[in-house]
């Protein structure tokens, strides 16, 4: 194991998959000559050439659709959105064409495509550039959605996404690109299956269910809670869809108290689905109502103080945990 950044981990995953399969190509805005808006594709143009690392004009709908068409004809495209906020102008291709083709064609055309890019609120980017898109996309049948929080998960999930026979969305955590973590060496194949959560920290008093940018938040809060004699278990979903119900139920049955901290909105957010499934399946295991910490239900303000107020934060999470623990 060695320590690398989340950005490097993604870069390694791309390079390894491009190397392994000549049908894999990377396409998006600034992915080639500029080396990636967030430098995730650094060095790939030099290594794989302009036939496989392809710059596009600013036409998300056009190149997302091109990717779906190329997948129909047997290639395995990786389509980068400079941010998932920009995927909204390609919504029709991601929602209508990629996941529907298999059903509409009576099983003749599966679409082995990966859509990837940074997702979730970053820092003072205001309303149009701060979308957490996971709840939009996870609601669409036929799409798989993963949300890695660590360099290891980023690499392993992206590689699994590229090898999947169906459309997979890799929602990378914009704020975590420079974060570091331990990852297997490059000569060791790292594949993390879609739909498997991971317990990032063991605990006994409360389960905090989180993903993407809320994982480091939950871990930090767990350390603070330790000082107050509350032992928090941190369950990182890693994939929103398929959802690892088993891991969620195991943890909730152990601690009997659950807080969900999500980076998206409260109304129809990911937490609502998780909450529903827990109460439906293991209602008797619960010792307290489930709490959710989400964004406030408003468009994202630019002002730094107001943005902090809108986002899930340590204070909100702390108080939710104390509420379910009756502490």
């Amino acid at each position: 194991m060695r320590e690398i950044t989340y950005r490097q981990a993604l870069n390694e995953a791309l390079a390894e998959e491009l190397e392994r399969d000549p049908n894999v190509f990377l396409m998006g805005e600034e992915v080639a000559e500029y080396q990636g808006a967030y430098k995730v594709s650094q060095g790939l143009l030099e290594r794989f050439g302009p036939k496989r690392i392809i710059d596009t004009p600013i036409s998300e709908n056009g190149f997302a659709g091109l990717g779906v068409g190329a997948a129909m004809a047997g290639l395995r495209p990786i389509i980068e959105f400079m941010t998932w906020s920009f995927s909204l102008v390609a919504f029709d291709q991601v929602v209508n064409n990629a996941p529907n083709m298999f059903m509409m064609s009576g099983g003749q055309f599966n679409i082995p495509i990966t859509f990837r890019g940074p997702n979730g609120p970053a820092h003072q980017l205001a309303a149009t550039h701060s979308h957490a898109t996971e709840n939009f996309y996870a609601s669409v049948p036929g799409l798989k959605v993963c949300t890695p929080a660590t360099p290891r998960d980023a690499k392993g999930l992206l590689k699994s996404a590229v090898r999947d026979e169906n459309p997979v969305l890799v929602l990378e955590a914009e704020l975590l690109y420079s974060s570091k973590g331990m990852v297997e060496p490059p000569d060791e194949e790292l594949l993390i299956p879609l739909g498997q959560a991971e317990v990032k920290r063991e605990g006994s008093d409360v389960s905090i269910i989180c993903y993407a940018q809320t994982v480091p938040l939950a871990l930090a809060v767990a350390a603070q809670l330790e000082a107050e004699d509350i032992s928090a278990e941190i369950v990182d979903l890693r994939s929103i869809k398929p959802l690892d119900e088993r891991a969620i139920f195991n943890s909730a049955s152990k601690t009997h108290r659950v807080v969900i901290v999500e980076q998206d909105r409260p109304f129809c957010g990911v937490g609502a689905e998780v909450c529903y499934r827990i109460q439906k399946n293991i209602f008797d295991e619960l010792d307290a109502p489930i709490m959710r910490v989400s964004q406030e239900d408003v468009p994202m303000p630019y002002n730094e103080k107001l943005e902090k107020f809108v986002l899930p934060n340590a204070d909100k999470l702390m108080s939710a945990v104390k509420k379910v623990c009756y502490a």
Partner: protein
């Protein structure tokens, strides 16, 4: 692979008749409520797709919008499989899961049947991208209506297609109306072909009621594209005799206009050309027509007695591995 110039014109006329009789029968079955959803008929436009498939190889890709019955039939998908699809049966070309607007036939390189106007033009770019990526000399034929040319996805795709020099023949089936809105009321250009110029794509206007002209112009484009990958744009002027869909009485146009086009019918025209040249007798034409009618009647019977997919199978088609999520 069969070459364009070897395609027998009498056979192509038979194919146009098959499409015509299929659509008439589909209309009747729709009214009898055997067919659900939306149903858009191709009657009047038969020379466009038959001319196109006659001009290219069987392994060239074709992709179209929702008025797609003729495209599948022209490519060789059986009338049985097409009618069964309209009936929602498991024996349909999309197993009854796509319906009228989503005919697919992978084996015959028919890449759909797409129902969001203009949304399949980027897909065509992707198909052509894939053949260029693999250094194949395949051509993609992308059909769309005059309504698609004002959609954003169309413009983004045309720019990408031109920029990457992708091997696509963009075939605008201009039947003068996007649903009930005439081209004059929807498009700022004097003629649709000028859209191509905006993207530096060579273009031409084609008489879509003339099978031979359609075939020859598409063949010419395909030959040039195979030599050196690039796109081409053809504005094919045609006319649909029926409304936009089964629920549209088409009251936005005059009887005189419809009659004018009916007199220029593509089937009558090719028949007259062949008869004049001594390649077809009246008896032979009647026999072809009789055969088309018979094929379609049998397709209805086939569709009626075909099974539907069991409901629990629905999960199998959510994704390739059939994982329930």
């Amino acid at each position: 692979m069969q070459r364009a110039e070897q395609r027998d014109e009498v056979e192509m006329l038979a194919l146009m008749l098959l499409i015509r009789r299929f659509e008439e029968r589909a209309s009747q079955q729709y009214q009898a409520q055997k067919i659900g959803g939306f149903c858009h008929l191709y009657i009047g436009q038969e020379a466009v797709v038959v001319g196109a498939v006659a001009a290219v190889r069987d392994d060239d890709y074709i992709i179209t919008a929702y008025r797609d019955h003729g495209h599948a039939l022209a490519r060789g998908t059986s009338a049985d499989a097409c009618m069964a699809e309209l009936f929602g049966k498991a024996t349909g070309c999309s197993q009854g899961l796509g319906g009228s607007m989503h005919f697919f036939d992978k084996q015959r390189h028919m890449y759909g049947g797409h129902a969001i106007v203009g949304a399949h033009v980027p897909l065509a770019a992707g198909l052509a991208f894939a053949s260029k990526y693999r250094d194949e000399d395949r051509v993609t034929l992308c059909f769309f209506g005059d309504g698609a040319i004002n959609q954003g996805s169309f413009h983004e795709a045309l720019n990408l297609i031109a920029l990457y020099k992708l091997p696509v023949v963009l075939i605008c089936e201009n039947n003068l109306f996007a649903m009930g809105t005439s081209v004059k009321r929807s498009t700022s250009l004097k003629q649709i072909i000028d859209r191509a110029e905006g993207y530096d794509i060579p273009g031409d206007i084609v008489d879509g009621m003339n099978f031979r002209e359609v075939r020859d112009k598409i063949a010419e484009a395909a030959v040039s594209i195979r030599k050196d990958s690039h796109p081409a744009f053809l504005e094919v002027r045609t006319y649909r005799y029926r409304g936009h869909s089964m629920s549209d009485p088409a009251s936005y146009r005059t009887k005189e206009e419809l009659e004018k086009y009916r007199l220029d019918d593509p089937i009558i025209r090719l028949r007259a050309q062949l008869t004049r040249e001594g390649k077809l007798t009246n008896e032979q034409f009647d026999a072809l027509d009789q055969k088309a009618k018979q094929t379609v009647l049998e397709a209805v019977k086939f569709a009626e007695k075909s099974p539907e997919l069991p409901v629990e199978d629905v999960y199998k088609y959510a994704n390739l591995n059939g994982e329930k999520q």
